[in-house]
C-alpha cells in the first residue's frame, strides 16, 4: 500500500461535482463505492478481467465500513484489478504439441477450423490453471480541499479509474497540469499558444 509506506508516486486531481454536491457526502460515497465494488473473477464466466473498488487496508473487503473508509477529512480506498492472463508462449507450445499428435494420428495436417477449435479448448484448459494477476491502486481524497491523489502514474490505469469515478459518481476530475491550473484561474488556455521563441518553432493556432 503506497499510501502507507515507501516512495510516493501519484497522479494529482482536483474533484468537482458535476451536479450539486450531496448533503451527506460520506453516506453518498459509501453507497457509490459499494455499487461499483470489486467482484472476484468467476472462471465459469467468459470475462478474463474484473475491476472495482475495495477497502484500502483490506483489498479482500468491499464493506466500506465508516471506520475503514474515512480517516479524518479524507476518504481512503483502492481500485482492484484481477486478470487472467494465459501465457502466449505456453499456449503456442501446447498447440504445436497437439498439431504433432494430430498429424501422427491422421497422417495429414489439421484443417484451419480444427486448429482453431483445438486452440480454444487449450485456452480454456489453461485458463482454469492460471492464477489471476492482482493489482491494487490506492486512492486518497481530501473531502475538504477536494484534492484527490491516485497512487499510480500508468496512463491507461489512471484513465480507467478517472472515467469510472466520473461516470459512476458524477464527478469531474481535473488534472493538476499547467493547463488544469490555468483553467481553474479562469485563464483562456486556448490563447496560450507555445512560446515560439523558446521552442524555436512556430505552431499554428489550429494545432493547439
Amino acid at each position: 500500500m503506497p499510501i502507507l509506506r515507501g516512495a510516493v508516486t501519484f497522479t494529482r486531481f482536483l474533484v468537482e461535482h458535476a451536479d450539486d454536491p450531496p448533503k451527506d457526502v460520506r453516506g453518498w460515497l459509501t453507497r457509490a463505492l459499494r455499487s461499483r465494488a470489486f467482484e472476484p473473477l468467476d472462471r465459469a464466466d467468459e470475462e478474463d478481467r474484473s475491476a472495482g473498488f475495495v477497502e484500502l487496508e483490506n483489498p479482500e473487503s468491499t464493506e466500506f465500513a465508516v471506520g475503514n473508509l474515512f480517516q479524518g477529512e479524507r476518504a481512503l480506498f483502492a481500485f482492484r484489478v484481477e486478470q487472467l492472463k494465459i501465457p502466449a508462449r505456453v499456449l503456442k507450445a501446447d498447440l504445436e504439441k497437439w498439431v504433432r499428435a494430430f498429424e501422427a494420428e491422421h497422417g495429414h495436417s489439421p484443417k484451419r477450423h480444427e486448429k482453431a477449435e483445438a486452440r480454444e479448448r487449450l485456452r480454456k484448459k489453461l485458463r482454469n490453471r492460471v492464477d489471476p494477476s492482482v493489482k491494487v491502486t490506492d486512492l486518497s481524497w481530501n473531502l475538504e480541499t477536494q484534492q484527490l491523489q491516485l497512487w499510480a502514474t500508468s496512463k491507461k490505469l489512471v484513465e480507467e479509474i478517472q472515467a469510472l469515478l466520473e461516470e459512476r459518481l458524477s464527478l469531474r476530475l481535473v488534472p493538476r497540469s499547467v493547463a488544469g491550473v490555468a483553467r481553474e484561474a479562469k485563464v483562456d488556455v486556448e490563447s496560450l499558444a507555445p512560446t515560439s521563441a523558446l521552442f524555436g518553432a512556430e505552431v499554428g493556432d489550429g494545432e493547439v
Binding site: 510516493v8 484534492q147 502514474t153 497540469s177 499547467v178 496560450l192 518553432a201
Partner: protein, 223 residues
C-alpha cells in the same frame, strides 16, 4: 505466380491503393516526417508544452538561492538535482537526458535548451521552511514520481498515515502554488516582453549575474 501478381495488382487497384497507371495513390511517408509529427503531437497533447515551459522557467528561477514564493507563511525554494530530460517540438534531435549533481544548471545543458529543447522531466528538491521533499516531475500532467517526504514526526501508526497524507497534500499544494505563479506570469504580455528575453539570455549563458554552478550544486548536496 504471374497470375497471383496480376490478381494482387487488381486487388490493390480495387482497394484504391493504386491508380490506373499502377502507381501508388498515396506516397509512402518519410519516417523522419512521421517522427516529427509524433514529437509535435506529444508536446501539444493536453497542453504538455505549457508544462515544459513551466519546468524550464522554474529551472531558471531556481538557480538563485532565494525562495520563489511563500506558502503557509514559509519560504519555498527549489533546486533541480541529478537528472533532467529535455525534449524538442521539432528538429533532428528530439530528446536529450543529462545526469549529474549540477547537470541541470550546466552551460552545456542550457545551450541545448537554447536550441529549443525544453524540460520534459526533472528531479527536484523542494524546501518549504524546514521540510525537504524530493520528487520527479513530468511536464505532461505534473504527476509526482519517486517522491521522498520529510522524516515523519508521529509515532502512532494511524498518526503516521495522517502525517504522510498531509505531507503529500502539502507537496501537491507547493507544486500548485509554483504553477499558479507561472500561469499568472504566462498569461500576461510581460511574458513575451520581458520574461522570455531574460530566460533566453540565461540559456545562452549571457546572464552575468548568474549564480555559481558550484554554489547550486552545494545547495543540492546539503539536502
Amino acid at each position: 505466380m504471374a497470375k497471383f501478381r496480376k490478381a494482387s495488382a487488381e486487388t490493390q487497384f480495387l482497394r484504391g491503393e493504386t491508380g490506373v497507371d499502377g502507381q501508388a495513390t498515396e506516397e509512402e511517408r518519410d519516417p523522419a516526417e512521421v517522427e516529427a509529427e509524433k514529437t509535435k503531437e506529444q508536446a501539444l497533447r493536453g497542453g504538455t508544452y505549457l508544462g515544459r515551459e513551466f519546468l524550464t522557467w522554474l529551472l531558471w528561477q531556481s538557480e538563485s538561492s532565494e525562495s520563489i514564493l511563500e506558502l503557509e507563511k514559509e519560504p519555498l525554494t527549489v533546486v533541480f538535482i541529478d537528472r533532467l530530460m529535455v525534449r524538442a517540438l521539432v528538429g533532428e534531435v528530439t530528446e536529450i537526458s543529462a545526469k549529474g549533481m549540477a547537470a541541470p544548471y550546466a552551460l552545456l545543458v542550457k545551450q541545448v535548451m537554447a536550441g529549443g529543447l525544453l524540460v520534459q522531466q526533472a528531479r527536484l528538491q523542494l524546501t518549504l521552511g524546514e521540510r525537504v521533499f524530493q520528487l520527479t516531475l513530468d511536464a505532461e500532467n505534473l504527476d509526482v514520481r519517486g517522491g521522498k517526504l520529510p522524516t515523519l514526526v508521529a509515532e502512532e501508526e494511524s498518526e503516521r498515515v495522517d502525517e504522510r497524507l498531509y505531507l503529500t497534500e502539502l507537496l501537491s499544494s507547493a507544486i500548485d502554488a509554483l504553477v499558479q505563479k507561472f500561469v499568472a506570469l504566462r498569461s500576461t504580455s510581460e511574458w513575451k516582453k520581458t520574461e522570455v528575453p531574460q530566460l533566453q539570455a540565461w540559456l545562452r549563458g549571457e546572464d552575468k549575474a548568474g549564480v555559481s554552478l558550484l554554489k547550486t550544486a552545494a545547495r543540492a548536496k546539503g539536502r
